[in-house]
Symmetry: C2
């Protein structure tokens, strides 16, 4: 059983402030927890129900695992329908991206993305298309938000998410800086070459005024109908697909 | 002011059962309400706050509009952050899709999509790429769910969403039936021709066993990384982009 303060300590991790303080985030569901167990992340603790026990992989001895009842799980879960298992995982501390790493292929750069579901979907999609790094502006939603972790469907376990001053990054980028805008060249006619940053803007306002001057190539996904814009995760996917195709990896 | 029963009647429209009964759904936000006012949809009633009044377009005299205070709006709103205006709009009754209509280009067919946000994003994306119709299985989430309306960002006002027995539809389709699967031919090597249905499956289970035998072309979005699958709205977008490109409309 968990005490009231223990339950509270876990639910507080739904808030960024307490995640930062504790250096921990929440992962839920058999599939996601399994993927984090098999990743470079450090899983600290696993809470699971009797029903979920059989479906869990072998848990290494150094990870404390605690059997709890359904009611307790519902209280610590961030999901409407809790999925039998919840893990506390350490927030990783990646080294800053070096020029060497940057020059290996393509990386998404997110300028103040706000929706946690969008960020999770972008991480999942970027992994599908073979990217390794997603770089977020400091003002972007936290990748360790439970909704982001959920939407990433386990991909967060294998992707590196960096938070940095992206204005500096794009200003001094050693590789081309592509930006998703509404009035640029067609994505289909663009030669992306072998490396680059692909900047995607905020849901409501697009790429911000501090970043925009540093975009070296303005790229647009051609529109046929009347929709005013595309969802940012959709735009990210269309760029990832295009980079992949252009690189002849398909 | 609105009475308690009036407020309740509006909030009940967040549930599909009551939307069906009343033939009404909720649209919120200046942009979306404006787009529905300018569409073929029949807007029945508009509730707005003093602050939003100045931003609203001219409301035709036959539409009842009611000024309400912020507290009342918060009570009838389905949003966490209400946006100053809420409209009740009639659910349209489209004629069944004829062969003539089907043969005009491409249409998305959704097999038991469950997430309202995914459906809204698909509608928005389909419109961007010039599609006119989205066809949903009877078991799919309701397009008039407030979260779907919200995620469609106004595109629902210009798209036709049909609910039908999609097993019959694909079994007797007069046009090719493409299906998004994990082990088909590359989407990049596929000649989509000039017309077709593009079937996308349920978030967890993909295309169902009743629909699968009627897929005439199994298509896959090539994967580079390790993510297990793509979000269905992302897949839909990648298909829409590909159809557009192949038709030389870009």
């Amino acid at each position: 059983m968990l005490s009231k303060p223990q339950i509270r300590a876990i639910t507080l991790l739904q808030q960024k402030k307490f995640r930062k303080e504790q250096g921990l985030f929440i992962v839920e569901g058999i599939k996601s927890v399994t993927e984090f167990l098999h990743s470079d992340y450090s899983v600290q603790r696993i809470y699971y129900t009797t029903q979920a026990a059989a479906k869990l992989p072998k848990i290494p001895q150094n990870i404390k695992s605690v059997k709890i009842d359904d009611t307790t799980l519902a209280r610590i879960s961030s999901l409407k329908s809790p999925q039998g298992v919840l893990a506390l995982v350490s927030i990783p501390d990646y080294p800053p991206l070096t020029t060497d790493v940057l020059q290996k292929g393509f990386h998404l750069v997110l300028d103040d993305i706000q929706d946690p579901g969008n960020l999770g979907t972008i991480i999942r999609t970027a992994e599908w298309f073979g990217l390794k790094h997603v770089i977020c502006s400091i003002g972007s939603v936290d990748a360790y938000n439970p909704k982001t972790v959920q939407a990433s469907m386990g991909s967060l376990a294998r992707m590196q998410i960096h938070y940095t001053d992206i204005v500096k990054l794009v200003a001094y980028s050693p590789i081309p800086v592509f930006g998703a805008v509404l009035d640029g060249n067609s994505i289909y006619d663009t030669d992306f070459g072998e490396q680059g940053l692909v900047v995607l803007g905020n849901e409501g306002n697009g790429i911000g005024p501090a970043v925009l001057p540093h975009i070296t190539q303005h790229i647009t996904i051609p529109r046929i109908g009347q929709a005013e814009s595309l969802n940012v995760a959709i735009s990210a996917a269309l760029f990832c697909a295009e980079l992949t195709r252009k690189r002849g990896n398909t």
